[in-house]
């Protein structure tokens, strides 16, 4: 009998391997993120001051939309080929195995954004202090996007065209993360303390880390019961 941790890591390992085999899922959100951010300076024109002041917002909104774009892949293929049924039938708690899938999803879609962000931040003319805080907010915020998004995907994966409903369900829940994260970066660029915002983001992260897997597992069980 393998232990729970073995199953947990087997899922992460399998999903990373699948992401490597299907590279478009890995590349698409990242490409979207890069394209949106690089188009902004072209659209706004030669106004470095303006660009610098809206940079936190641009980066965070792009990260949010890139995360949205990648959400549907989270359970789609497992739902279609029956792997999800097998995961649910496992003797281990479904919520923990699903958490493993969410972690793998973040490693594939959230982490690349985090790695690419400093380069794009420099491109938008952000100061070093602001870039550091941007990275911290992305580190705290992007896992929340995957965790909260998972609930929405789990609810809509059984629907034929769940895309629109998914964004309506999930975007309002993303708003607090967007507000606190971009506010923190803005404050940091004017040299103000940002501890409060970071604390709240940390709290949101831990709350969704502990609370999101349960409704996700329950919603998945509902979705396969059709």
């Amino acid at each position: 009998m393998p232990s729970l941790s073995q199953s947990f890591f087997a899922i992460i390992q399998r999903d990373l391997l699948l992401a490597l085999r299907k590279r478009s899922e890995l590349i698409n959100p990242l490409l979207f993120f890069i394209l949106v951010i690089t188009l902004f300076p072209l659209g706004i024109g030669a106004k470095p001051q303006l660009l610098q002041s809206i940079a936190p917002g641009i980066i965070w909104v792009s990260a949010l939309l890139a995360a949205m774009l990648s959400l549907d892949n989270l359970f789609r293929s497992d739902f279609d080929d029956g792997s999800l049924e097998q995961i649910i039938l496992s003797p281990y708690p479904t919520s923990l195995l699903i958490l493993a899938k969410i972690i793998a999803h973040w490693l594939v879609t959230g982490l690349p954004l985090l790695l690419m962000a400093p380069l794009l931040a420099v491109f938008l003319g952000m100061s070093t202090a602001a870039i550091n805080i941007l990275l911290v907010t992305l580190l705290l915020g992007t896992p929340v996007l995957s965790l909260i998004g998972a609930i929405g995907v789990a609810l809509t994966v059984g629907l034929r065209r769940g895309g629109m409903i998914l964004s309506l369900l999930v975007l309002p829940l993303y708003v607090p993360v967007l507000i606190f994260a971009s506010n923190a970066v803005e404050m940091a660029s004017s040299g103000l303390p940002v501890m409060a915002q970071l604390n709240i983001l940390t709290a949101i992260l831990f709350m969704s880390l502990t609370l999101a897997p349960w409704p996700t597992a329950a919603a998945l069980k509902m979705s396969i019961n059709q």
């Binding site: 393998p2 029956g82 039938l89």
Partner: protein, 204 residues
Amino acid sequence: MPTTQLQVNNLSCIRDDRTLFTGINFSLHPGQALLLEGKNGSGKTSLLRILCGFREADSGEILWCNRSIEDSSYYTDMAYVGHLDGIKKELTVLENLKFAMALSGSSTYSITEALSRVQLSGYEDALLQTLSAGQKRRLSLARLLITQKKFWILDEPFTSLDKHGIALIETLMIAHCQSGGMIVLTSHHNVNLNGINLQRISLS
């Protein structure tokens, strides 16, 4: 020590105001198999999905070792092969089986032995998308062999298998029952399970 057995009492299923079946009773002991018969849409798959715990029965109860399936070792003991193969087409045969093993535990047969028993030796490193439908089916049944599950739930296990494949799976099922396993299956084909105690339930 309660004996391992599946007990189903007065199960019924209503779907979209249509009564699929009511009052299904049966019990299954080690070494026995149950064949569900009935025409398309008679609720065979629904019954199997209720047995898996995917659906709630509209009435009735399912007991495993005299306890409800939620608080018994049911999920450690049962395995399900449904219409969907539950295997990843981007992974190789070996990677798929290793994952299945990690989810549910290892067993009597090693991966190599299981593959040779379903006659897929030599395909270890083949990507699933290069396999034929029948080979995929055999692989999803190989998943049963590498895990130590007593109770198999098989929904149309013979789909897309050729005559030879069907005979092969029947041999595996007979061997499973003879070593104390239990099977519930549905099939359109004439099932040839000689030498084991086979019950039949006809849904209509």
